[in-house]
């Protein structure tokens, strides 16, 4: 088995997780910028974080022969502090040309507030001006439906945005169609409690088709499993999916989407 982990917050994980992922067949890991579990106090905190994502973490992953890529942004959970968000947005371009930066992400909404929307739109503008790919976080639980509708509308209304270069992540049964029908890629996140289980993820693959879907573990400092993708592949085998279909979903699809930026090369 081989797979690409397209969404994992490795700065929050222990080194043994890298070993387990590589042993399970992981060929590359992609790490979107996210919320640390607390609000950072200044733009310099983000500068350190972006340095960690573009300098230190790739070296840590390389010790296991694992290519490491990243996406940059300020998370929607910190968007109510618009002054800080503007300072971070102004700093991001300093990092965009670094070799492992794939684009802008994971941007999006959390509680669907006006300030979150304003900061989301500024990220989209930055991505459009710099011709960056976009990775979108959709809200949690009861806020996901409304947030996904808002996100899809905002993206569709910006004519500079090419839907095929945008992935809308954390979709579930009630939001996958919203993303896919608008031409975007969609990500299914495998979490032990919230988001999606392996059987439901495979249900969605069977219902919506695998053409523009990827699976990810989104492992972070919370209740999450860095091996959720290969475990879901085993579940697909139990259901009788072919090895070719499994490989296409967990390796071929992220490779196709991410290879739209020439920076994504895994040899």
């Amino acid at each position: 088995m081989r797979y690409i982990e397209p969404h994992a917050h490795m700065v929050s994980r222990v080194t043994g997780d890298y070993t387990a992922m590589v042993v399970a067949g992981c060929r590359a890991v992609c790490e979107p910028a996210f919320w640390a579990g607390f609000d950072r106090g200044s733009v310099e905190g983000f500068r350190d974080y972006f340095s960690q994502l573009t300098e230190h973490e790739p070296k840590r992953a390389a010790r296991f022969g694992l290519p490491h890529f990243t996406w940059l942004c300020i998370n929607s959970k910190e968007s109510e502090n618009v002054k800080l968000a503007d300072e971070v947005l102004a700093m991001i371009p300093e990092f965009l040309d670094r070799p492992n930066v794939l684009g802008i992400g994971e941007i999006g909404l959390n509680k669907n507030s006006r300030n979150e929307i304003a900061v989301f739109e500024k990220h989209i503008d930055l991505a459009a001006r710099r011709e960056q790919m976009i990775l979108v976080h959709t809200p949690h639980l009861e806020d996901k439906l409304k947030g996904t509708r808002l996100i899809v509308d905002i993206l569709k209304n910006d004519r500079r945005i090419v839907p095929g270069r945008v992935l809308i992540d954390h979709v579930e049964e009630h939001t996958a169609g919203l993303a896919l029908d608008a031409g975007f890629w969609a990500g299914i996140t495998l979490y032990p409690e919230s988001k999606c289980t392996p059987p439901r993820a495979i249900d969605m693959v069977e219902v919506f088709g695998a053409e523009r879907l990827w699976l990810n573990c989104a492992c972070d400092w919370g209740n999450s499993d860095p091996l959720a993708v290969p475990k879901t592949a085993l579940e697909m085998r139990r259901r009788g999916h072919s090895e070719e279909a499994i490989d296409n979903l967990i390796f071929g699809n992220p490779l196709r989407f991410l290879s739209q930026t020439p920076k994504f090369s895994i040899g």
Partner: protein
């Protein structure tokens, strides 16, 4: 695609276990003190359960929609970062 029998063979025991967990959760709520029945989480949870019976298609989607904020206007300001899993204004 698997047959109905194959799906039952693969998933029935797991689904049975989760069904009993749901029943035990409701028993736990009903045994406890306080005004939990008026909590929007309980109200929307019971409404969501109604989608499990009958021949309605897309039951998972129906449950998720029942547990979702159905409004379309952005909120003025985010006063919290977390989500409870049910729309706090779910009608009584």
């Amino acid at each position: 695609m698997m047959t109905k029998t194959e799906i039952l063979d693969l998933y029935f025991a797991d689904a049975r276990s989760k069904l009993i967990d749901l029943a035990a959760f409701l028993d736990r709520i009903e045994r406890s003190s306080g005004a939990g029945e008026h909590d929007p989480r309980v109200r929307s949870f019971r409404a969501a359960l109604s989608h499990l019976q009958g021949g309605e298609a897309e039951k998972a989607k129906a449950v998720l929609l029942t547990l979702s904020d159905p409004t379309t206007e952005p909120v003025a300001v985010a006063t919290t970062k977390g989500a409870s899993g049910a729309w706090p204004q779910y009608p009584s």
